[in-house]
Symmetry: C2
Subunit: 338 residues, 2 copies
């Protein structure tokens, strides 16, 4: 059993209160030991996702008492295993790991994770950089397509469509013959998506947006929307779509309350629903999740690829967050753990 | 075949534009003749419902070009029948009639209605006054209980709970062993509902309302709300209920957009849905509707009774609406058609 030399302490990013990036500090902590059915992962890379920003301010749904270690997903190598056949199976393997459940977030040089959902084996063909971004966005985009197909829809209305996730949904949609009606907030994002092959892209800040969106949603019979923005935009989506439509809110980049006109809800049978990856996955059976994971892995070099804008060492996490926040649609920012 | 003497013209309330009660006028019009499968009803009484107020300002979901005749439901006697066995069956019978579909609203001395859903036979034991209010509120209250039971719920959160409909839901709930958590806007309404036997009644304008509502919804595991108010109150309901709850918006007395915090939707799996009686009925099979109707008729003298505050002749419809609007929870205002 080969075993990498493991030092005594590790570098960790710690959030000391739910008050944003300024509450982060870099600390040295003892390296934990994996218990039964757990492995120790030497973390390579972790992206900054919108859900990480939500975690920093206490907006995210999982909220343990501070201090906590943030970081929703990452990649690395399993360098030590606790008792159990599954744990031993992972030893030496390259994995994607999630920041949920025992062991906490992955903005840490090492992290202990359960073999039951905390780590997933990475395809040999994937770099650790792409592997670090292989769970949250790829599985979310795959879930959106699954929900869309299950509902018998042939088109999707999508907001914040120029995000990494948005681009994935566009590429998957093209692959599956599903039309994406894209909504973005700047002309530059319109150009970017069109350059990548998306034919319907609207700027919500442009005059005539509501009428254009209405016409397109009716022409394409678009009755399902995935909304990352919330606030008044949600009501614009509800208003634009034909009767019997649904907006699925999955993020709240505007940090505003969803608005929904009662007359649209009552008289046009429109609905506001929501999506959160963890609970959605937990409602699928294990076989379906493994298929989803295998398929997503295959698609990561193509449809589910994330562009990388810059890589920062974990010590510069605050600077990395500032950079990401200033330009969220120009490619991902990765943290390098050592 | 006995046939009442039918004059040539009738008195009708006409809405000339969707600009409120001031746009109403009283006119004389020729009395229409029933075609095949239609009957002519000599209307006795019609209530003023919140949905009528919504119709007057163009807020309601059914919006034909003006001029229109308002009036969502009423009672009367069938005085003439067009060809067809069903139409002849109704001749001479006392009926409840709806303001939907062909023939339009019932604020009219006579109205032609289809025998397919436009008229329903009234129990002999019911007065024409109670019969005039036997469709919209009784069937809505019955639908709420049906939806609640189908969802396996044992309690309901209800807003505008001191309304005629609210009182019906309370009485039906007691009858069925379903706890009602009532929300009203004034202390007088708290007293009124408590005097009628409701044990949980909260005033949303009182200090500490949100915390009280939270505690009660958690103690009673209340996860379904029927909301007639919308606006910020909807979010207070979402916030107070345990995870996996649903607010069903069925009216918008506040005339404000529904507010819903994205974190409640996404991280607590809460949902905003809606209810409209017509489409709900049309999704049920005919046997179920007839059972619902028969049962509602039996319960109108007890659980589904509406209190009457005052009766106005149709000529005074504007005054009647002013009176109703000034005090919507003190019993119904009826219009007498002749």
């Amino acid at each position: 059993m080969r075993k990498k030399r493991i030092p005594d302490t590790m570098t960790v990013a710690v959030l000391n209160s739910y008050s944003g990036a300024d509450a982060l500090s870099i600390e040295q902590r003892p390296i934990p030991t994996p218990a039964k059915n757990e492995v120790l992962v030497k973390v390579a890379f972790s992206p900054i996702n919108p859900s990480d920003l939500a975690t920093l301010t206490g907006y995210y749904g999982l909220k343990n008492p501070t201090p906590i270690v943030p970081g929703g997903e990452g990649s690395g190598e399993v360098v030590s295993a606790g008792p159990g056949a599954m744990a031993r199976y992972f030893l030496g393997k390259r994995v994607a790991c999630t920041g949920w459940g025992k062991g906490g977030g992955v903005w840490s040089e090492y992290v202990v994770k359960s073999v039951k959902g905390g780590v997933l084996p990475l395809n040999k063909s994937l770099s650790l950089e792409q592997g670090a971004m292989s769970t949250i966005n790829p599985l979310t985009a795959s879930a959106f397509i699954a929900i869309t197909k299950k509902g018998g829809h042939q088109s999707i209305l999508l907001t914040a469509a120029a995000s990494s996730l948005g681009k994935m949904v566009n590429r998957l949609g093209r692959n599956e013959g599903i039309q994406i009606v894209n909504v973005v907030r700047r002309d530059g994002q319109v150009d970017l998506l069109k350059a990548q092959g998306s034919n319907i892209v609207l700027n919500s800040n442009e005059a005539g947006f509501e009428q254009q969106l209405h016409d397109i949603c009716h022409q394409t019979n678009t009755r399902i929307a995935f909304d990352a923005v919330a606030g008044p935009l949600t009501n614009q989506l509800l208003k634009a779509m034909p009767p019997n439509s649904k907006v699925i809110v999955f993020s709240a980049l505007s940090r505003q309350a969803v608005q929904a006109s009662p007359d649209l809800l009552i008289f046009e049978n429109k609905m506001v629903d929501s999506f959160w990856l963890g609970p959605w996955l937990s409602k699928q059976n294990l076989v379906k999740i493994m298929l989803l994971w295998k398929r997503a892995q295959k698609q990561i070099p193509s449809q589910l690829k994330s562009e990388i804008r810059k890589i920062y060492p974990i010590q510069e996490v605050k600077e990395a967050i500032r950079d990401y926040t200033s330009q969220m649609t120009g490619g991902k920012i990765l943290l390098r753990m050592s």
